[in-house]
Amino acid sequence: MEWIYEPWPWYVSGVMIALVMFLLIMVGKNFGMSGNLRTICSICGAGNKADFFKFYWKAQRWNLIVVLGTMIGGFIVHDFLMLEDAVAINSTTIADLHALGFESAGKAYLPETLFSFEAFSTIKSFSLLIIGGFLVGFGARYAGGCTSGHAISGLSNLQVPSLIAVIGFFIGGLLMIHILFPLLF
């Protein structure tokens, strides 16, 4: 039963993501996570301020339930299906990150420098989280989708806008890691 605690290789994970999309399509829905951000804004009453949020959000309740399930799934894995938090990353990457001051690299699931309650105590990490959250929320809606909606659902349907979006995500990620990141840390 040792295998149950091991992380999954890429080919298993890829098949599982496709399976999730297949199930959602077969129940008459589609796969996309960031649409929920719009739904939540509408629930909070943003429809009074902007037409973009004036839509029948109750028809999107199913997707909020998917997100709730995703969180439960995360807890299940963390509490019952894994023994150690460390993720399997390359030793070169670990060394690089240590040099940048990310001491939790190779020991944890997420860097404590950015994702922990202590992160709220320094202005730098606090503002990075706020700015990051704003950009993710704004960008995912402005583009009409995030990684799940564009890279998986959109590309599977051979949609050119999704391809452009995915190339954009990728360029953004590269710029962040190679140019902004060395400036920030």
Binding site: A18, V20, I25, L81, I89, T93, A151, N157
Partner: protein
């Protein structure tokens, strides 16, 4: 039903380590094939699945026509 699909997705995300900040960082400095493999497999199967559903006009579990809203 949706809760179950979500749980499967959550378990997948955690088990594949896709949601780990470290893995995303590693992907962008091109020191790991892991994430490219995941997205490649999901994309490959996704295209096949979408094309089959469209070509044979497969109905959903509830008997409704399946629509792919354009992005």
């Amino acid at each position: 039903m949706y809760l179950l699909i979500g749980i499967v997705f959550g378990i997948t995300m955690m088990k594949s380590e896709t949601v780990s900040w470290f893995c995303i960082y590693e992907m962008f400095i091109f020191e790991s094939f892991h994430k490219y493999g995941i997205i490649g497999v999901a994309f490959f199967l996704g295209v096949i699945m979408t094309q089959i559903i469209k070509r044979y006009k497969i109905k959903s579990f509830y008997g409704e026509a399946i629509l792919f809203p354009p992005k």
